[in-house]
Every structure is written in structure tokens, then in C-alpha cells.
């Protein structure tokens, strides 16, 4: 009765009964719809991506036969053993040092702009600054690294600036330091350091700004009421509350430095970093097992790092 009433109300309904039936069927089976929605994305990431990660892990337990140059598909820990040779440990230590130093430098550089955005910028200016930080983040990473090669070249912008400021003596003193120095800035350890600091800086600014944004104004006022001067408030109230933001940002700066192979291959003094070794091992050397074992190192380090970061409350600041 009711159905025929509706049919009379909408006599021109163009939908076929098959269409009606299937729409109703799916309406009554929400789990099936869910399954259909998830099937494609899950297939892609679950099979293609996780499958690839599994392939990587499996490969790291194979090893390369030194005589034939072929990968032997047999379970062994020998490839992981190779990580502990002196040269490879040096690579890991060097990469970790670089990641740490870059993270600290980024935190120091990010603070003023994040603090200004959170505390002083008007809503309009904040939007502009936000976009100004975002633009470099999204623009081509390779081009940005390449730009540093131009800037740091022997006759490039930075040398010119140093000459204009008559700081040549200082530059030469820095370049003659053992370990980090070199013939020019772009082929010393300072080259990759500057490029790393530059390319990952926006990753530090954004979470730090978000954390500073959440510091309650009442706490700052309370600190002032209790006699805290600007610096005291900054040191004892704002910095501790912003720390989770720094940790959140450091996840990116640290992880990205650990895995990078482009920066040290364009700039720097040809001493190797983890990403580079992995890249060379899988490419020219054809030693995919060792390359795989090398990529497991940053994954392990990052797992430990993420667990620590979670304890420090970094995930609430993301």
C-alpha cells in the first residue's frame, strides 16, 4: 500500500530494480561496504608495501657469495655480522653524530620563528609565516640541496660574503679543524651539515609552533605575577612546556638525516653515511643483503627513538 503510494508520487523514477536491489542490499550490509571500501587501499599497502618491507627483511638474512658475486638465498646472520666491522661501525657512528648535531641546530633555529608565530604574530601574519615555512618544505628537496652546492662553492655566495666581512681568517681556521674541515666549505663536513639543517628545518618549526601555541597564557601571566622576568619565564615555564614539540620535530630531523643519501653524495668530504652505503651496496656493488641490513639500522634506531619520544609526550604535540 505504502509502496504503491510512493510509486505514484514518483512515477518517473528512472532507476532499474537491479540498481534498487543492490543499493538496498549494501545498505543492509554495512560490513560488506566497509570491506569493499578497504579492499583496494589494504591490498595496496598491505600487500605491495608491507610485502616489500618483508622482502627487504628477508633479503637482509641472505648473503652475497664473495667468489660468484651471487646472492645466496639461505638464512644466515653473516650479513648482519658485516655491520660490525670497523669501517661500517664508523659509518653508523658518523651518521648518528650528524643526525644529533643537525637536530640540535634545527631546534635552536626553529625556536625564534615558532615562538614569534605562536606569541606575537597577528592571525593574518601567522597565515603568511605558516605558508612561508611550508613552501620550502614542499618544494623540491634535490633543488634545495643543489642550491647549497652553489652557495658553498669556493667562489660562491658565502665565500663572497665572508670576504666582504673580512672573516677569511676565521673561515680558514674552521676549515683546518681536523675531522670537520676540508679544502672548501662544500667539501668539508660543514657542507652536508648546513644542507641537512636547512632541508629539515621546517619539520622542526611546525610541531614546535604547535606546542608553543598550546602553552596557556595564564601560566605566563602567573609566572610574571610571581616575579618571573622575561628570561625566567622563558626558561622555567615556556621551554619545559614546549619540549614535547622539540621532540616531535626531532623525530623528523633525526629520521630523515639517518636515511639520507643525496646530501652527502652532493656535498661533503666523501666520508660515508648509512644511506649512501646502502645505496652503493644495492647498486654498483650488487650486494642487496648488506644494503638491506644497513637500512634495518635506521629502522631499529627510529623504533627506539619513537618509544622514547612517546614517553616524552611527543605524540600529543604532533
Amino acid at each position: 500500500m505504502l509502496v504503491s503510494l510512493f510509486k505514484n508520487l514518483y512515477p518517473q523514477s528512472p532507476r532499474s530494480t537491479f540498481y534498487r536491489r543492490s543499493v538496498n542490499f549494501f545498505y543492509r550490509h554495512p560490513r560488506l561496504v566497509l570491506l569493499l571500501l578497504l579492499a583496494a587501499p589494504l591490498f595496496w599497502l598491505g600487500i605491495v608495501y608491507l610485502g616489500s618491507l618483508a622482502a627487504l627483511l628477508i633479503q637482509s638474512f641472505y648473503h652475497l657469495d664473495d667468489f660468484t658475486g651471487q646472492v645466496v638465498r639461505q638464512f644466515t646472520l653473516a650479513t648482519y655480522g658485516e655491520l660490525f666491522t670497523r669501517a661500517n661501525l664508523d659509518v653508523i657512528r658518523r651518521t648518528l653524530t650528524m643526525a644529533t648535531v643537525v637536530t640540535i641546530a634545527d631546534a635552536i633555529l626553529a625556536f625564534p620563528i615558532a615562538y614569534y608565530m605562536a606569541r606575537y604574530a597577528s592571525p593574518g601574519l601567522k597565515g603568511i609565516l605558516y605558508l612561508a615555512v611550508l613552501m620550502p618544505l614542499w618544494s623540491n628537496y634535490l633543488v634545495r640541496v643543489y642550491a647549497w652546492k652553489l652557495i658553498l662553492a669556493k667562489e660562491g655566495v658565502l665565500s663572497w660574503l665572508i670576504q666582504q666581512l673580512h672573516l677569511n681568517g676565521l673561515l680558514n681556521a674552521v676549515l683546518s679543524l681536523p675531522g670537520i674541515g676540508g679544502p672548501s666549505l662544500s667539501v668539508s663536513a660543514i657542507g652536508p651539515f648546513l644542507a641537512f639543517v636547512y632541508v629539515w628545518l621546517p619539520y622542526m618549526i611546525l610541531p614546535l609552533q604547535a606546542a608553543l601555541e598550546r602553552v596557556p597564557a595564564s601560566l605566563i601571566e602567573a609566572s610574571a605575577d610571581l616575579g618571573g622576568r622575561g628570561w625566567a619565564t622563558l626558561r622555567w615555564v615556556i621551554l619545559p612546556l614546549a619540549f614535547p614539540g622539540v621532540v616531535a620535530g626531532s623525530i623528523f630531523t633525526f629520521s630523515l638525516t639517518l636515511g639520507d643519501f643525496i646530501v652527502p653524495s652532493i656535498l661533503g668530504n666523501s666520508s660515508f653515511y648509512i644511506g649512501q652505503v646502502a645505496y652503493i651496496q644495492q647498486g654498483t656493488a650488487g650486494n642487496i643483503p648488506l644494503a638491506a641490513a644497513f637500512t634495518v639500522v635506521p629502522m631499529l634506531i627510529m623504533t627506539v627513538y619513537l618509544i622514547m619520544a612517546k614517553r616524552l609526550g611527543a605524540f600529543d604535540a604532533l
Binding site: 578497504l38 587501499p41 614569534y116 623540491n140 634535490l142 637500512t295
Partner: protein, 264 residues
């Protein structure tokens, strides 16, 4: 924690310096695209010329790389749009076992260092003996583009009020009609914003691509090859200027779209 007072001078200067640091490389690249010197990076450049733009326009390898990049980015974006939207709809609609892990799984390809994703795909390609092709590049790119679309669409879905969907269903529309006429128009700008970001991400990607491209060169790979084996350096700078312009515009548009939706 906005403050009513104006910022101390020292802080303003620090902000200015950091901004200068952020934009110095772009200025330098732009400047060197016009230099008259064809090798070396003397500063200030000995002279300025438009010559390299003509040379770049005549280089067929550059055009091939650009075409490949555009094709890969288009297909990868389309795939990411479909997969990301499906995942966002699923996560938004229903609570189910493992919902949290879906977000995590989608985030993984960009959370792990690019070299991990790259070598993982490379070793999977090696194990299954699939030949390198256009499609291996696309698979790599789509994998890390999905999350961008997913995040944008999910954020929009969470902001859309459910009363509209309910009203549509109450008025007799079926789920498909509701999706087509109610949900999709509201998602349109989120899809566009997410799609633009995915496009920019794919257009710029170099690390994963080095492992999945075989002999083919996308534009970033072309630039990388130029850096290792330079030939007419300023042409690289012209390509770099082009790449910067090609990403600044979609990012700016995408940012506008998301902000416009937020202030609604």
C-alpha cells in the same frame, strides 16, 4: 598563548634571519639561472642572460624527463585519490577492529626514511623479477601519495556535519545518491587540495624513484644525473627554477583551498 605586547626587537631580527636562511637558496638558484658563466658559480655572476632558457627549451632529454614526470605524477595522483578516499570513507564511517593501525599503515611510507621504502620496493622488484618500467615508478609514488589524500579527505569528513547526510537519507535518497549529491560536493575542495599535494609530492620525489626507475629519468632524476655528470650547468638551474615554480603554485592553491574550507 598570544601576547598583547609587540615582540622584542631581538626576536624580530632572529625571525628575519631565519626567514632569510629559508629563502636564500631559492634566490641563489633563480639568480644563477641567468648567469653568463657556463661552468662554475662565481658570485656575483659576471653577467646576466636569458640564453640558458633557450638552450633548455632545445634539450630533448629535459623535455622527455619533464613529460615522464608529469605522466607519473598524474597517474600516481589519480591512484592516490581513489585509494585515499576509499580508506578515509572506511575509517570515517565505521569503527572496526584495527582502525588505528590503518592510519599508521598509511603513514608508514612517508614516516620511514625514503631509502627504506626505496630499497624495500627495489628488493621486492628484484625478488619477483618484475622489470623496471613506467609502472614501477608509479607504484612507488602512489604508495606515499595515498596518505596525503587520506589526511585531507578524513579531516574534511570529520568537519562535515552528519545531519546533512541524515537529512538526505530521510528524504528518500539512497546511499549512492547521498554520496553523489551531498558528500562529494563537500569533499570536492579537499580532494583537489589533497590531489595537488600528492601531485607536488610525486613530481618532486627523488629518493624512492632512484630505486624504482631503472633506466628511465623523471625530472628530479634528470637533475640528479646533471649534478653528478654536469653538462651545461646553467641549464640545470633553469630546470630547477621551473621545478620550484611548478611546486609553489599547487602548494599555494592547495593551502588556500584548505584555509577557505576551515573558515567556512
Amino acid at each position: 598563548m598570544p601576547s598583547k605586547r609587540s615582540a622584542p626587537l631581538g626576536l624580530k631580527i632572529a625571525v628575519g634571519l631565519v626567514l632569510a636562511f629559508l629563502y636564500l637558496p631559492f634566490t641563489v638558484i633563480l639568480l644563477y639561472a641567468f648567469t653568463t658563466e657556463d661552468s662554475g658559480f662565481t658570485f656575483p655572476p659576471p653577467g646576466l642572460t636569458l640564453h640558458w632558457f633557450t638552450v633548455a627549451a632545445g634539450r630533448s632529454d629535459l623535455w622527455q624527463a619533464l613529460t615522464l614526470s608529469l605522466q607519473v605524477a598524474t597517474i600516481a595522483t589519480l591512484l592516490a585519490l581513489v585509494l585515499g578516499t576509499l580508506a578515509a570513507l572506511a575509517v570515517y564511517r565505521t569503527a572496526f577492529f584495527g582502525r588505528e593501525s590503518i592510519s599508521f599503515l598509511l603513514l608508514l611510507p612517508i614516516a620511514l626514511p625514503g631509502i627504506v621504502t626505496g630499497i624495500a620496493l627495489r628488493s621486492a622488484i628484484g625478488l619477483t623479477s618484475i622489470p623496471f618500467s613506467f609502472w614501477t615508478i608509479v607504484v612507488g609514488h602512489a604508495t606515499f601519495c595515498i596518505v596525503v589524500v587520506y589526511n585531507n579527505v578524513l579531516a574534511r569528513l570529520r568537519r562535515t556535519s552528519t545531519s546533512l547526510t541524515e537529512a538526505s537519507m530521510d528524504l528518500g535518497a539512497d546511499s549512492l545518491q547521498t554520496f553523489r549529491h551531498i558528500l562529494l560536493p563537500q569533499l570536492a575542495t579537499a580532494l583537489l587540495a589533497g590531489g595537488l599535494l600528492a601531485f607536488a609530492l610525486s613530481f618532486d620525489e627523488v629518493i624512492v624513484t632512484t630505486f624504482t626507475s631503472g633506466q628511465k629519468a623523471t625530472l628530479p632524476i634528470w637533475i640528479l644525473n646533471q649534478l653528478v655528470r654536469p653538462r651545461q650547468r646553467p641549464v640545470t638551474n633553469v630546470a630547477a627554477v621551473f621545478v620550484i615554480a611548478a611546486t609553489f603554485i599547487p602548494i599555494w592553491v592547495s593551502h588556500r583551498l584548505s584555509r577557505a574550507a576551515e573558515s567556512d
